[in-house]
Symmetry: C2
Subunit: 448 residues, 2 copies
């Protein structure tokens, strides 16, 4: 960050004094990843001056590193022919991602001008969040009769363009995946050895329709640097590399954190434009308003009781709040455990029983302390008793809804982070008020 | 998961009929990662029967794949000599991790029996969460005069033991990092080329004291499969590989999600033992109880008011709840943005101004709807007005504390996820009650 800021200042200084070539040179001397970081910090006008002056390869490198939106902004002023040249230089999967975000007519125009359109076109059909949407077509596949020398020669001929140079895949005559061999194994084998003799036959792969999160899980579980992707006939169609997976894992974690906190736009940043903030945050705030008003309605039924014993209004939120806190703990654990592939829907019953017990014990622990404390503070043991009892009961409720709701969402094939926290705390709020005020009604003769 | 269960049943069946060798064979035929998954599902007694019957290499593979706690359980019954043999077969970084969790006297006994103790001992001194704690000493370093043929020959001699076979590092006579060359570049170079002529000089590295999260960020930003680690003199001391980084990213995401949900033990699972659940969850529940009781105290000061206008008790939680919800959105965005290296503490002011504006606008949007709705529902426009106004004001409060608190925690060098949600919602709860009930006091003559 520090360093990037210095380069940014130097580029701006060069631009202001019209030393365009200096500005370009500063950019080109940087690592492509840093270059992208600085480029994103430039104003649109500055970007539009610099981009046309960069050579095609550097532009391709830059676009590969930019975030999706920034890349789209940057290419806006390029002609289809210019864009086609740049896309030809990019990795096929990155080129396909960029094309996938363009309007259809621009895609057609650009593809018509591209030399390597046939590497990119097959990738355009896969959904963004599938293994197919993540893979590249830039890999080496060979037949099992190939010798190690031939493989190395082949590698020499094509290697500069390859994204995955450390694994070579073996296919049969129908292009079905038959084995994998690493560059290391090829180098270490005696010259002339057939790939068939050194390849590993038991290849771990995913299908192109597999969800990207599942693909990430497979690569992480088996410590793979590259994962082959096959179609429904078992034919090799692409390969996913570890750097894509790191991005998937980060994106999925962001998604879970945002969903748990009721933010519905995963690209939202603390300093995103106001309209994006409102779009990503207001829907859940409105939904939460509905659940909060339902809880208000529950309390409003006890208006007469509260009129008589107003101090109840001071403590009802303790019951609701602690229940919500406990339920959020439950939801977070289940969401994370499911995301990491450790918990499946079949574990509902053991988890439910355990969480009810945990709810009971935490309720006992917290409820007894609060009960005694409030008894002394308010000099009213009955108030302390019903408060402690209500907390105990609502923590058991929290254990139940905090488990059942996320598991129900999983059973419907959805992400349990999606609505769990809001739905679950809505329940613990309303139930907390209901339990506490109902108990107060029963014990009314003893209060105050 | 499905498949693992079948293997588990087959192993249990074999154990019950005393066909020990069959049970072992089923285990050994599996991929090491799957083997570890099944092994963890076995009872302690079953594990104790099987482990001594496995050969040293398979045991080493198994221990590398097991979770820390499961690995510790498994080796409990091994003698120091047996354990030393197994550790010799493991990757040095994995062996060091395991040793780091053992009691000091057991470590000394075991190291005395190990043949490759000198590869492991240097790793024992680094903190778990630093680059040094993550790196392995199993890499290739050579001098720049080495030729490509010599490098390949060297690789042939040592390769079977190597974890990072695709990058070779170049060091000077003081062992300072001078360059990096990939196996691909060595293979593609003319035989006899000096490494000096093909190596890349501008190596990206981290120091051994660097936090593991920062190391992960560097590898992810520059798409590196391996990252060299140097000491304070710039001497090469180890290398971190991509599979370690995937684990770090997953662990850090779990940590953020758990901290945001007030779970203080990152290893907690929905079905973890009761005592671990209580230990990981009760501390924050107690802390939350304190903040909830503070909010109760705020409300208790308005006891007389609520006694007069009991319906206020029904709506006070809407003000508090929506403020809390909005503040949680803020905290989640800042936590995630900081974790991904996109936001630094210097952005406090622009983010704060933006979030105050967002709080004002969401407060206006939600407050006006609720104000009008409750006016109609309760047939009391003054109640609607003070409710809407209080929501508006509390959402601005949410924007302020939801930004300032996490940034303050960052400024103190801590993780903003650590206490933000609880601290922030404690503020929005208390302030929500205070604002709403104060407004109600002012407007009291017009209520009901």
């Amino acid at each position: 960050m520090e360093e990037a800021s210095i380069e940014l200042l130097r580029i701006r200084a060069a631009l202001e004094t019209q030393r365009l070539q200096d500005a370009i040179n500063i950019l080109l001397e940087m690592h492509p990843a840093d270059r992208a970081e600085v480029f994103e910090l430039l104003e649109d006008g500055e970007q539009d001056i610099l981009l046309p002056l960069m050579d095609v390869t550097s532009t391709a490198d830059l676009l590969e590193e930019l975030e999706d939106e920034a890349a789209l902004d940057a290419i806006e002023t390029l002609t289809p022919a210019q864009l086609a040249d740049v896309l030809d230089e990019m990795e096929p999967d990155e080129a396909a991602d960029l094309l996938g975000d363009l309007p259809p007519e621009r895609v057609t125009e650009t593809l018509a001008e591209m030399e390597e359109a046939d590497e990119v076109i097959p990738l355009l059909g896969y959904p963004d969040e599938s293994a197919g949407g993540l893979m590249t077509t830039s890999y080496i596949a060979m037949r099992r009769q190939t010798s190690t020398d031939q493989a190395i020669q082949f590698l020499r001929d094509v290697s500069a363009e390859l994204e995955i140079p450390y694994y070579l895949y073996v296919v049969d005559r129908e292009n079905k995946l038959a084995g994998v061999v690493s560059l290391r194994e090829i180098v270490l084998a005696m010259p002339g050895t057939a790939i068939n003799d050194i390849m590993q036959r038991d290849v771990i792969y995913v299908e192109s329709t597999t969800d990207q999160e599942e693909a990430a899980r497979v690569m992480s579980q088996y410590d793979l640097a590259a994962l082959p992707v096959v179609d429904e006939q078992g034919k090799l169609v692409g390969v996913i590399t570890y750097d894509d997976i790191v991005e998937v894992i980060e994106d999925e974690a962001t998604e879970d954190i945002y969903r748990l906190a009721s933010v519905s736009d995963n690209d939202l940043e603390p300093d995103s434009p106001i309209n994006e903030q409102l779009r990503g945050r207001l829907p859940w705030l409105y939904f939460n308003t509905l659940t909060a008003l339902f809880a208000s309605w529950v309390v409003s039924n006890f208006e007469a009781l509260i009129g008589q014993v107003a101090i109840l209004a001071a403590f009802q939120s303790v019951v609701a709040g602690l229940g919500g806190n406990s339920a959020s703990q439950n939801v977070a654990m289940i969401v994370r455990s499911v995301a990491l592939g450790k918990t499946t829907v079949r574990q509902l019953w053991p988890v439910l029983l355990r969480q009810m017990l945990v709810g009971f014990l935490t309720g006992l622990a917290v409820g007894s302390v609060v009960g005694v404390g409030v008894s002394l503070w308010q000099k009213d043991p009955h108030l302390g008793l019903i408060l402690g009892l209500a907390m105990l009961m609502n923590m058991v409720v929290a254990g139940i809804v905090g488990t059942v709701v996320p598991f129900l969402i999983i059973a419907f094939g959805k992400d349990p982070a999606l609505a769990s926290t809001v739905l679950v705390t809505a329940t613990t709020d309303s139930m907390g008020f209901l339990i506490f005020l109902s108990l107060a009604t029963i014990f009314l003769p003893y209060l105050e």
